[in-house]
């Protein structure tokens, strides 16, 4: 067997850093310096990107359709809020990790429910868990503040050095650092043999089991990890906005997240990041046109995307960049069409 037909060879080649990827992150960093007046919305985009990356891990890599990802986001958000409010862990980074772990525990516990059954059962169970947590948060309003949410959260400086300022500058760079660190981790994981085995499971669980992949254990692992990511995203939400309210569990949040990922494409990690940017821009545009009814246009975008077909859409979008790359670099396109899913 020669090297180029070896699976490991291809896997390693795909895992290499390209110039495009480095450029992507440099652009993101540059945005922080270029638009000093827009920190709040940019932080919002970063948070959404991290949250979408979490869903990408389960949907794009493991093929689990989840309608209740807001459950983990919400647990992370409330955990971070409660930790800060009661002064249990004052240091934001530690609190962030603690909140992520809280969501992770929930993810682990519920993963056993999710791996059972087919698509529809999974949909229902994930949706049910999110609704259940929302009901719980409403019920225990003495802890969560009920519909008013957690108020009066004061964030301590990061590492005891860098305070959160009112323009959101520290918040932005803090979120960016967290996003980048978690992106590196996710990148490492999806390109590892573990990540490859997930793809095998997604493509055909029966065959994956037949070649000796412990399907259920792998799904539990990735679901738990994704819950950790979503929890961190939720905690970032609380830490940078200093509020946590019941709507962190809302169904709309999970649905919007789906849209983000669908816009960006699944199964290559950047989908969530790109999708988050486009989604927020769309939302801005729609809410300036019709402040109250932007949801209509978001719905329309979803319908159109599905009717046109996600594959075709991504091909169209990537047509021009690939043409340029072909002309300039004279080789095959490096910006690949994202893998199909589910």
């Amino acid at each position: 067997m020669n090297a180029s037909s070896d699976v490991g060879y291809h896997a390693q080649r795909r895992a290499r850093w390209h110039y495009g990827q480095a450029a992507f992150w440099l652009v993101v960093l540059a945005c922080g310096f270029l638009f000093p007046t827009r920190y709040l919305i940019m932080t919002d985009i970063l948070r959404l990107a991290l949250f979408a990356m979490s869903l990408d891990l389960v949907l794009g890599y493991a093929g689990i359709v989840s309608l209740g990802h807001a459950a983990f986001f919400g647990v992370g958000a409330y955990a971070a809020g409660l930790l800060a409010l009661h002064g249990i862990i004052n240091e934001p980074v530690l609190a962030l990790i603690a909140a992520g772990l809280a969501a992770m525990v929930l993810g682990f516990a519920t993963s056993f429910l999710v791996i059972r059954g087919v698509d529809l059962t999974r949909l229902m169970v994930t949706l049910g868990i999110a609704l259940l947590l929302e009901a719980l948060a409403e019920r225990f309003s003495n802890i969560t503040g009920g519909t008013d949410g957690l108020q009066g959260i004061e964030m301590q400086p990061i590492f005891g050095e860098i305070p959160f300022d009112m323009f959101g500058k520290a918040g932005f760079f803090y979120s960016l650092a967290v996003l980048f660190a978690l992106f590196l981790l996710a990148r490492r994981i999806v390109h590892s043999p573990f990540g490859l085995s997930l793809r095998a499971i997604k493509n055909n669980p029966l065959r994956a089991a037949a070649i000796g992949i412990p399907v259920n254990r792998r799904l539990i692992a990735i679901y738990t990890l994704a819950a950790f990511y979503a929890g961190i995203a939720g905690a970032l939400f609380t830490q940078t906005t200093a509020i946590a309210s019941l709507d962190v569990f809302a169904f709309e949040r999970s649905a919007d997240l789906m849209l983000v990922l669908v816009i960006g494409g699944t199964g290559y990690l950047y989908g969530g990041l790109i999708g988050a940017v486009i989604f927020r821009m769309l939302q801005e545009v729609f809410s300036t046109i019709t402040p109250q009814y932007w949801q209509f246009w978001i719905g329309l975008v979803l319908v159109v995307i599905v009717l046109v077909g996600r594959q075709r859409l991504h091909r169209w979008v990537l047509y021009v960049p690939n043409l340029i790359i072909k002309q300039v670099a004279g080789r095959k396109a490096v910006v690949a069409v994202p893998e199909s899913d589910a």
Partner: protein, 289 residues
């Protein structure tokens, strides 16, 4: 004792209503394996049509009900022929995204046209209030719901069990490929059933304005209930969803009455437990589709 019976009665009315609302979805899911999260939008459409006819145009309530059915069915068939049809062969993810999109659009559109506040349908005096039977309070409106939905259920069961169309539909649900091999026009059967299911949802929407409350967020609020009825009841027969809706209705009413603080907690826990115990539904077949 009487309060138990009153609650039971309310629960049965509630459950029957849920059944009429959701049984169209059972067919969609069972026959075409299509996840239609926008089902509630058709119910809402029926409810609003009824509201406009009764409140604004002065139609009698009972004349507006059939029109709620017809309008929701018309919208259903139009959407089925133009949009839904293209998505049967797609993945569940695509179907979920598409129908969530439709739901969002319907919510915003109704909000735009009718405003975001809850609407009420003016009921005739004969349907208001309640009377006592051996000390058990019986709401007139709920009694009417039980009568209408009960007749509908019996009618549906007869159609399914006795008519040629019913046997075609059952054959198509059981095995669409074999059914089309036998010369049954499965897409046509489905289009018709889809429209009929949407019509029933519309009728349910009109009836439910008084009990569940009708506002633009109806499709989102009750989506989970419809899904529970179908997933718990299974889609292999009409009895499964029917029993599931009764269970859900009685459970929800009793839960809200006896443990009001736990709110919807009871229902969601029940659903998750049942789905874990029997992933194909309480009354579903054991084989996975």
């Amino acid at each position: 004792m009487t309060s138990i019976l009153t609650n039971l009665f309310d629960g049965v009315a509630y459950g029957m209503l849920l059944f009429v609302l959701a049984c169209g979805l059972a067919v969609t899911l069972g026959l075409m394996n299509f996840v239609n999260l926008a089902h509630g939008a058709f119910a809402m459409a029926g409810g609003y049509v009824c509201m406009v006819l009764v409140n604004r145009m002065g139609w009698p309530f009972f004349a507006a009900l059939p029109l709620a059915f017809v309008s929701a069915a018309a919208i259903g068939i139009a959407l089925e022929r133009t949009l839904y049809r293209h998505l049967y062969a797609r993945s569940h993810l695509d179907q979920v995204l598409f129908t969530i999109g439709l739901t969002f659009m319907s919510v915003a559109a109704v909000d735009y046209i009718q405003g975001s506040s809850r609407v009420f349908i003016n009921l005739p005096a004969a349907l208001q209030g309640q009377f006592d039977v051996f000390g058990v309070g019986i709401g007139r409106y709920r009694l009417m719901i039980i009568v209408i939905c009960g007749l509908l259920t019996i009618g549906l069961q007869m159609v399914l069990a006795r008519t040629r169309f019913g046997s075609r539909l059952r054959a198509a649900v059981d095995d669409p490929r074999a059914a089309s091999g036998l010369g049954i026009n499965v897409p046509q059967v489905f289009a018709f059933t889809f429209a009929f299911g949407c019509g029933l949802a519309g009728l349910g929407g009109a009836l439910s304005a008084e009990i569940l409350g009708l506002d633009p967020y109806f499709p989102l609020k009750f989506m989970i209930y419809f899904l529970i009825v179908v997933t718990v009841g299974g889609s292999s027969s009409i009895t499964g969803p029917f029993l599931a809706s009764l269970l859900l209705g009685i459970g929800d009413v009793a839960g809200k009455y006896y443990v009001p603080k736990m709110g919807p907690f009871v229902i969601y826990t029940m659903m998750i437990v049942i789905l874990i115990w029997r992933p194909n539904g309480l009354f579903g077949r054991t084989a996975a589709r």
